[in-house]
């Protein structure tokens, strides 16, 4: 901008140059400009680079936004109306003296509902809003869907976090020490990996009460395996490098090398794996609840809501739509974010 102002024509410049008498100031250093920092090829911190690359990726940002909205609604959604997740909505009819329950009402959005039905019929629930309708017992589906999403997300986050810690430690230790310990640990892993999750659930169900506990334990027992494989591979990549040798020469013990020197360098792939494990966990929970060994009534999760909807699908097909949409969007969003993170954490040369 400033340069443009100073543009002068060729002859004018010449006359200016001739007339110009250099002063002392022209030969002193202009300290107002910082010439020591290279702004064009600036070194960017690792995490800052990851963040820039991540936010450049449209799909990842969309995924992040969807996750944000879902988490907000899962936390706040059940409080947006006065209904509890297990309250059966009913109205006392004074003429007949009966309780009228709001069973299986279709979605009623305030102004839209009035527009569609007019004032034609006498509606006992005229003053209530059911954004997703009510289920076959008369409970508000909006509250239940977001309450269910909260349960599902909570299960997923907690189990995956614990799995990450267990799997990561297992993999890092196995990869670091190598030799017989590694062989032994890998055989153990192979055996643990050879038991289908279904069988684990079945066996657990023989001595555990059905419910959230069963789902969590089943997830804890299976999801750490993938994490530990990745942690071990990363460890094998890192442990031969010079900085580890330097650390060892300086007298660092195994614990310090594993958890302080190498762990920060392996965290990228592990976070990516976590992002892919979360939809897996949500899905597993939904699947188990659908089959009937997950969440027990009157609590609900996405899976049990889908099962409710499935039981009534021929008569009340709209009931299954909200939980399925929430589930599909969550899966999509976590996969997008996972993909974005993977690309941001391990950029290939052609992407840069």
């Amino acid at each position: 901008m400033s340069r443009k102002k100073n543009v002068v024509s060729e002859p004018a410049l010449q006359s200016l140059q001739e007339a110009y008498v250099p002063t002392q100031e022209d030969f002193t250093f202009d300290t107002s400009i910082d010439i020591h920092t290279d702004r064009n090829y600036a070194s960017v911190g690792f995490w800052k680079g990851v963040a820039t690359r991540f936010f450049k990726n449209k799909r990842a940002v969309i995924g992040l936004v969807i996750i944000g909205i879902s988490i907000f609604l899962a936390l706040a959604g059940p409080y947006m109306n006065q209904y509890g997740y297990s309250d059966i909505q009913s109205v006392y009819d004074e003429e007949t003296g009966n309780e009228v329950t709001a069973r299986s009402l279709p979605p009623r959005i305030p102004w839209l509902h009035k527009l569609m039905t007019g004032e034609a019929y006498d509606d006992p629930f005229a003053d209530r809003v059911f954004l997703f309708g009510t289920d076959s017992l008369g409970r508000d589906l909006w509250t239940r869907v977001w309450y269910g999403a909260r349960v599902s997300l909570l299960i997923a986050f907690v189990t995956i976090f614990i799995d990450m810690i267990v799997g990561m430690t297992f993999g890092l230790v196995s990869g670091y020490f190598g030799g017989i310990l590694d062989d032994f640990m890998q055989r153990f892993l192979e055996i643990a990996n050879s038991i289908p999750r279904l069988v684990i659930v079945g066996v657990l169900a023989t001595f555990m009460p059905k419910g959230i506990g069963l789902v969590i334990v089943a997830l804890l027992l299976t999801e750490w395996i993938g994490m530990s494989k990745i942690a071990r591979a990363e460890m094998l990549k890192n442990k031969e490098q010079e900085y580890i040798m330097a650390s060892r020469t300086l007298g660092a013990g195994s614990g310090r090398i594993i958890f302080i020197d190498i762990l920060p360098n392996t965290i990228g792939p592990i976070i990516t794996q976590m992002m892919f494990s979360i939809p897996n966990a949500i899905f597993t929970e939904a699947f188990l609840s659908f089959v009937g060994v997950g969440i027990m009534l009157p609590q609900c999760s996405i899976g049990s809501l889908i099962e409710d909807g499935f039981n009534n699908i021929t008569t009340l097909p709209y009931q299954i739509v909200p939980p399925i949409l929430v589930l599909a969007f969550l899966m999509l969003a976590f996969n997008f974010v996972g993909d974005g993170l993977r690309e941001a954490l391990a950029p290939r040369i052609e992407d840069m």
Binding site: I230, L236, I306, I313, G338
Partner: protein, 334 residues
């Protein structure tokens, strides 16, 4: 090579034995009552326990159980009151039903997935490529049972093109929907994986070399590209097949198929959990899983000359090197 295979088979056998032992111990030692106590008197329970040998030392029980399984091939009786039928009377039909659906789904998933993946890689950026990426997004984010429910709602309930429930007498017509929904995930995964592998191979130097020597068309694709692109695809097929077998749990519930998954769910959710059913099905599922892994490992080994030469060590080194790079998105279903 032969040594590797023998070693691998032995390993599989040992793994299966250990798993059987673990499952047996877990099912028998852990607290819990196989009989619905509110419906049976104490004496009746004691009598039943004695009849089934539940009071013997645990290792003796295990020995007896293994003897029975290995010699007669039957897995004992159901333990709970309402379902005391010998397991071997229900298992054959259940297994045949599950395997039929599973086989159709696997064949369908692999063929369609491969064809789609190849079509997408050959028409990069065009219709099939876009279709393939949309399918892979749908396959990942829509759980197969949601897909099943929709298929059933629209094609069996709204329009009665296909029968609502599975029916052995109208096998093909009633298999289409369950098999299609079951294979959706594996189809999309295989398609995506094949596409990516093929694209990578097609960009490699030796394909450029072959092209510059005048090779083109089908011969180039089948001889040079596919041969190398399909080797890694074999590795994703193994977990997918297992997913199919276990994913059958929901399909069997939705389409009312009398299969192994339904047996398992009934055993778990029935009142008084059926110990022996869970145990028998657990052993069968694990055996199946291990067997499939074994077969695919051997196939992989036969296909890939690097492993053929270097043996297991080479494979392990490659896996370690690939490690984190291998697709973490695989195996999203249960």
């Amino acid at each position: 090579m032969a040594r590797y295979i023998v070693k691998r088979v032995l390993m599989a056998g040992v793994t299966l034995f250990i798993i059987t032992f673990l499952l047996f111990m877990l099912v028998r030692i852990m607290p819990g009552n196989p009989f619905p106590s509110e419906r049976m008197s104490d004496e009746a329970i004691a009598k039943k326990r004695e009849e089934m040998g539940l009071d013997d030392p645990i290792l003796v029980q295990f020995g007896n159980y293994m003897k029975e399984v290995l010699t007669t091939g039957s897995f004992g009786k159901g333990s709970s009151l309402y379902n005391g039928a010998p397991i071997s009377s229900v298992l054959p039909t259940a297994m045949s039903n599950s395997f039929k659906i599973g086989a159709v789904a696997i064949l369908f998933g692999i063929t369609v997935g491969l064809i789609l993946g190849i079509a997408a890689a050959l028409n990069r950026g065009h219709f099939w490529d876009v279709f393939c990426s949309v399918l892979s997004i749908v396959g990942v984010c829509v759980p197969s049972y949601v897909f099943m429910i929709f298929l059933q709602y629209f094609f069996a309930y709204k329009t009665t093109i296909f029968p609502f429930y599975f029916n052995n007498r109208r096998f093909w017509l009633s298999t289409i929907m369950p098999a299609l929904s079951l294979s959706l995930f594996s189809m999309s995964t295989i398609a995506r994986f094949t596409r990516n592998e093929m694209v990578e191979v097609m960009d490699s130097d030796y394909v450029l070399m072959a092209e510059s020597k005048g090779m083109y068309g089908t011969r180039l694709v089948t001889r040079h590209v596919l041969r190398n692109a399909l080797i890694p695809v074999v590795t994703v097929i193994a977990p997918l097949i297992v997913d199919l077998l276990t994913g059958a749990l929901v399909v069997e519930k939705i389409y009312g198929i009398n299969g192994m998954g339904k047996l398992m769910v009934d055993a778990i959710t029935g009142e008084g959990i059926d110990y022996n059913y869970v145990l028998a099905l657990g052993i069968i599922y694990s055996a199946l899983y291990i067997f499939i892994m074994l077969v695919l490992d051997i196939v992989y080994c036969l296909l890939d000359p690097r492993i053929r030469v270097a043996g297991e060590r080479g494979k392990r080194r490659r896996e370690d090197a690939a490690g984190a790079g291998s697709d973490p998105g695989e195996g999203v279903t249960v």
